[in-house]
Point group: none
Chain length 251, copies 2
């Protein structure tokens, strides 16, 4: 058994069963517990799973995606959201992607801000409805049940008409060479349409998303003009983005 095979098998197992136990893997793959631990640690470093005491869990999805995702690193998300909210200026046309971080961003917008917000996310639309100074536009389309965003041809077509001042992307993965990535092909097209019509593209990514990649490429990293991340991101991880001329904001 090659080590790469073993790791693939671990990821397979994780995908089908939703979790793996280190002890089980030790027994079934007939290697020492150390080796399994090493595998799990490196897969975690690569962003392919989430290491926990006793085993590992999928990095992004457990049972109820949106609700449970909201609780991952909430303070990091909140600080990123607050910092990102400062980017928005009076009178701008703002496009908001779906996701928990962008939802926090919506909530963090200043109460006296006047602007126009366009979003594919029903939860964001509802959160902003109470805001006195915003005109909120919902992008129509087929609803993706887990991510709670609209997708499909109608959404892409509607976004194609928009010339936004700034778009905020809640990215799933951000890699200096691979670029902005996501899990879902439909969502990819929507995000790409958002980017295409925007003057500024702000990526919101907490530090453990930096250097990771998801299956679907949304856009090259050069499409991003600003990156907002949390204080735990280290210099080394940020250097490649700075070198590419991307403005990096640490909350």
């Amino acid at each position: 058994m090659l080590s790469d095979e073993r790791r693939s098998l671990i990821l397979d197992r994780l995908g089908t069963q939703g979790r793996v136990l280190a002890a089980d893997l030790t027994a079934e793959l007939d290697v020492s517990a150390d080796t399994i631990r090493r595998d799990l640690r490196e897969l975690d470093d690569a962003g392919l799973l989430r290491r926990v005491h006793g085993g590992a869990l999928p990095r992004h999805g457990d049972a109820s995606p949106f609700a449970s995702r909201e609780r991952r690193a909430p303070e990091a998300k909140a600080s990123i959201a607050r910092r990102a909210a400062e980017i928005v200026r009076e009178g701008q046309v703002v496009v908001l992607d779906g996701g928990t971080t962008t939802l926090e961003l919506a909530r963090a917008l200043a109460d006296d801000l006047r602007a126009s917000v366009i979003t594919t996310s029903p939860p964001i639309a509802i959160a902003l409805a109470a805001h006195p100074g915003l005109e909120v536009t919902v992008v129509g389309g087929v609803l993706r049940p887990d991510a709670l965003v609209t997708v499909g041809a109608a959404a892409v077509e509607a976004l194609r008409l928009i010339r936004a001042d700034v778009v905020f992307l809640g990215v799933c993965g951000l890699h200096p060479e691979i670029g902005v990535t996501t899990e879902d092909l439909e969502e990819r097209h929507v995000k790409a349409a958002m980017i295409a019509g925007a003057a500024e593209v702000v990526a919101l990514a907490d530090h453990d998303k930096l250097g990771t990649a998801m299956p679907v490429v949304v856009a090259p990293i050069t499409a991003v003009t600003q990156l907002v991340t949390d204080a735990d991101a280290d210099e080394a991880a940020l250097a490649p983005y700075l070198a590419l001329g991307i403005e990096v904001l640490r909350a």
Copy 2:
């Protein structure tokens, strides 16, 4: 059971039931009360729930959208919604107007129903996202902050393309001569577009809306094919609709 899984489960439970009891968790998760207490304490520290004596509650005293209206005559609305949900048949294309009654209707749809639902209401879209058998389409447009529905040219245009089997209208006023009426001109155009493309038009109106009229006329009463109202509606108020050939369902 990994400890992380256990905590996720606790948060899930909290999300669905609105509260958790420490004693229940001890029994169901088969760990000691100490462990549960530790979990709850740490989840509280992380800001993910609010610890109280005997269990835990959601941290945000859940502010549900348009909460004030939702509690007006809730039992009448709920019974109308349940009755109306029975109208929907397998495989149909259903258009749902916004409003609290239609939101109840969405929640009342049978779990095993397979259908396509199109709505202008973000809250309805979110409520239906968890439903396994439905394809949910959101009609895009400018969000009306108080009613939480999309309006405007984009919404009308999108609805013009739809040939629905049945549309459910949460009406503001229903009068045998004046017809279906509402308060808002923008909403009127959206409702009219819904009606234009639908084979059946079901009006949901509790008994005190019968015989009343609002400033803006949506459609003549003949556009309505079915009327669902509550048990308190009296024969005299319903007679005119029956005389016009409208099928009347009393919940």
